[in-house]
């Protein structure tokens, strides 16, 4: 009777953008007479921070303070096409659309400023809401003055549009899976070390620490990246040891119908979290960013399952690893029934779970 400690590792990769691409995002931007910026994007913010990230990209690309940017994703009349907030695409794909729109706005503001200052636009730069002559920071005008001159002096509307579409990666041979171009916008990489405590009396698995490392390309907002990584880790913990829609499977009755009967992770399940951020810039993401929103819950279940093996010497490969599953596995171990079948160079785990054992219609072997 004891609590056993274990540790397990997992390393993963995950694509940015819709699988096989072909998923457009578009944006447009207009400038108010005082230089304030209105961004119209169709990207829903589902808690992932799309409004913040896209506003940060626009602010730096034009060269104005973040506080000057208003972000409107509120409706399909004013916002152009965005395929949506899924597939880890909001920063990378939709972010590139606003980046392109912002570049066009900056170019037009510089054109107006150049005429006002009787200088070539190539000799100007914009930073922190001020247009200045390169190398002569005191020579220049505020972006607000430029925007006002555009409206009331030059009679033009300063806008920018941007669209991002990675071409659809078609199968060249569906029978082999070969495709004609990259089927992703980028790939992100991550890993996790899980530490667990397993009580061999109650069967309870407690995840005590998750140490995680993510290559995010570039952290456009480190706080939001950490939020994704840490929030995702808790979802991964839920997948690993707590959650199932069918707790009495193979019976599908008595499903959890509320927060009291469906076991999503609670504050009491929080492990210690250590987060390492690696920045290997993506080749063409906005400011080098990659998307990591979804992969944040992918590495923990395997790390936890491996840590449970490290702790008590049994492999549990049906999730979640509930107390009942742990106690059953320990019983099998005590009865000497936990070993893989060995046949020549074959090492066969989990034979009882295989389609070959449970079903009759699909025989599948090495």
């Amino acid at each position: 009777m004891a609590v056993h400690r274990g540790r397990g590792i997992a390393a993963i990769e995950y694509p940015t953008g819709m699988n096989q691409n072909g998923d457009p995002s578009q944006a447009w931007i207009k400038v108010k007479p005082d230089g304030r910026i209105d961004v119209f994007s169709g990207t829903a913010d589902i808690g992932n921070g799309a409004k913040t990230i896209q506003s940060q990209i626009v602010a730096d690309t034009i060269g104005v303070p973040y506080e000057w940017v208003t972000f409107d994703n509120s409706n399909t009349d004013s916002s152009p096409v965005c395929t949506g907030t899924f597939a880890s695409r909001a920063t990378f794909v939709a972010g590139k659309a606003v980046l392109k729109a912002a570049r066009e706005v900056q170019r037009k503001l510089l054109d107006v400023a150049a005429q006002e200052m009787e200088i070539s636009p190539e000799d100007l730069e914009i930073e922190d809401g001020r247009v200045s002559v390169k190398g002569l920071p005191d020579e220049g005008m505020d972006v607000g003055e430029v925007a006002g001159a555009a409206v009331y002096g030059h009679g033009i509307l300063v806008t920018g549009t941007g669209a991002q579409l990675n071409p659809y990666a078609a199968f060249t041979d569906p029978g082999t899976g070969e495709v004609d171009s990259p089927p992703h916008a980028a790939i992100s990489y991550a890993g996790c070390v899980a530490e667990v405590e397993v009580d061999d009396v109650t069967g309870e698995v407690r995840v005590t620490k998750l140490t995680q490392s993510y290559d995010v390309g570039r952290a456009i907002n480190p706080s939001l990246v950490e939020g994704q990584i840490q929030g995702g880790a808790i979802m991964g913990l839920g997948l690993g040891v707590l959650e199932t829609s069918y707790p009495y499977y193979p019976s599908v009755e008595h499903r959890g119908s509320g927060f009291g009967s469906y076991y999503a992770p609670s504050p009491l399940d929080m492990p210690d979290l250590e987060t390492i951020i690696i920045e290997n810039p993506s080749e063409d993401g906005p400011y080098g960013a990659k998307g990591i929103g979804e992969m944040a819950n992918n590495s923990q279940p395997a790390a936890i399952a491996t840590a449970v093996y490290d702790a008590i010497g049994v492999w549990i490969t049906e999730l979640p690893i509930t107390p009942e599953a742990v106690l059953k596995a320990l019983d099998k171990k005590a009865a000497g029934e936990d070993q893989p079948r060995r046949d020549g160079k074959m090492v066969i785990f989990d034979e009882d779970l295989s389609v070959n054992t449970v079903g009759a219609g699909l025989q599948w072997t090495a």
């Binding site: 990207t43 790939i187 890993g191 193979p250 590495s299 279940p301």
Partner: protein, 455 residues
């Protein structure tokens, strides 16, 4: 100050934490009706009789919507990608999962709407049901769809997604050990704090305003327009602020029926799912059944992988064929394995339809591949970092689709974790980079692959 790279507070954080952000359910308009759905109480049944006249005649009931009211009853979310539709917006003569929508009642208040649902006369004839994908292929299995129990329309009308690369038989022949395992993550809920909700408002100019909790405004608008058979300028989808989605709000679950009810009643209609509906009738993350057989050498190389995946799609396809394709593209995980034989089926059961969820298609494979990798390391008596670093994908290695990796970071990630854990890697592994393979890290089985693919 540069914004990119700064720890700026979230754009909408203050509104969210002070309760002042306007979500869909916060929108109230005059003359608004409330809706309730009649859902299937059976996992699998024929509808033998349905009569809504008693509900329609009830005081306070303003509209009852059934399959007969839907201009295009069956429309697939991914028809544009060649995935045919199989799911009616409202059940017509059969139901394939418990909780499947059948008829919506819009009334002056929630209680009247619920009473209207209860007043619908409906009779079912129950059918045998199937809940285990492993039994779907058996000759005595319950039959879910007329065409069978698995999706038959992968490109080339294949009944499974296949990956074939290299020479799998040769890999298994050359292997020192062949290690197999079975991996079965469960179905789970998305658990958004905001349940599915929609407010549909008929405007005086003949347009419809749809207040939606969708994760994808234009995608949802396209789905609604298809079912209603109207051009996009008849619709205005209002949203963009979502109370948690996690993939479950890519499905257009509440908007289209609410729009139909608003049109029929000529009044705004709000349909807000209860927490119980959210848990029991909304789509789940799929439970996956995965079998991996790896051909490995005693010194830690994975020469080949044979893999079978049975994806439990629940009663209808929704995004499942897309998910299985994505899954197949990533079934080597963060590693380079030159010889592959993958078969992935989209299998139908009488569970609620499964759908996209954070990590769609790959969360499952990450669990399977990485737990299997730990087993392989264990069987070979190798360090778990080292077996991973050895096989880690490197620049110029190729994916299961023959796409060259340009910026893989598996080596960096593993080295950083070793550093954090105080694990001392052997010299060769400590000095590894993601640069193209050479020397001992370019063994014959990978030389051959790089040559044949022309890199």
């Amino acid at each position: 100050m540069k914004a990119v790279g700064a720890r700026l507070p979230r754009y909408d954080a203050m509104g969210h934490v002070t309760g002042t952000t306007q979500f869909v359910d916060d929108v109230r308009v005059p003359r608004m009706l409330w809706a309730k759905m009649l859902r299937s109480p059976h996992h699998h049944a024929a509808i033998t009789r349905m009569d809504t006249s008693r509900a329609e005649a009830m005081p306070g009931v303003r509209a009852v919507i059934t399959w007969e009211d839907v201009p295009l009853l069956t429309y697939g979310h991914l028809e544009a990608l060649g995935i045919p539709a199989d799911e009616p917006l409202l059940a017509k003569d059969e139901v394939r999962y418990k909780g499947q929508p059948i008829a919506l009642v819009a009334a002056e208040d929630v209680d009247t709407a619920m009473a209207g649902v209860d007043a619908i006369d409906i009779e079912y004839s129950e059918r045998p049901a199937l809940f285990d994908v492993r039994k779907a292929f058996d000759s005595d299995s319950a039959q879910i769809h007329p065409w069978g129990n698995w999706y038959p329309h992968f490109e080339g009308e294949m009944d499974r997604r296949k990956i074939r690369k290299g020479d799998i038989d040769e890999a298994f022949e050359q292997a020192d050990k062949i290690i197999s395992g079975v991996y079965r993550p469960a179905a789970i809920e998305h658990v958004p704090v905001e349940t599915q909700v929609c407010l549909a408002v008929p405007e005086s100019d003949g347009r419809l305003t749809i207040y939606s909790c969708t994760q994808a405004l234009y995608f949802t608008m396209g789905v609604i327009a298809a079912h209603l058979q109207v051009p996009l300028n008849k619709l205005k989808v209002v949203g963009g602020t979502v109370g948690g989605g996690f993939g479950g709000k890519v499905d257009t679950a509440s908007d289209t029926v609410s729009a139909l009810a608003a049109m029929k009643a000529g009044r705004p209609v709000k349909w807000r799912w209860t927490r119980e509906e959210e848990f029991l009738a909304s789509s789940t993350r799929a439970p996956w059944h995965m079998e991996i057989i790896d051909a490995v050498t005693d010194n830690g190389w994975i020469l080949g992988r044979k893999m079978l995946t049975l994806h439990d799609s629940g009663a209808y396809a929704r995004f499942s064929p897309y998910g299985v394709t994505k899954h197949s593209f990533h079934h080597t995980g963060a590693y380079t394995i030159p010889n592959l034989h993958f078969d992935g089926y989209v299998v139908f059961t009488n569970r609620v339809p499964t759908t996209a969820m954070r990590g769609f298609g790959v969360t499952s494979i990450s669990f399977a591949v990485e737990t299997h990798m730990s087993r392989v390391a264990n069987e070979l008596g190798m360090d778990p970092y080292e077996v991973r670093l050895l096989n880690a994908n490197r620049i110029n290695d190729t994916s299961p689709n023959r796409i060259r990796y340009t910026d893989p970071s598996t080596v960096d990630v593993l080295q950083s974790l070793a550093g954090a854990e105080g694990v001392q890697l052997e010299g060769a592994y400590a000095g590894m980079t993601r640069d193209p393979r050479s020397g001992d890290l370019l063994p014959d089985h990978l030389v051959g692959q790089l040559k044949t693919e022309g890199h």
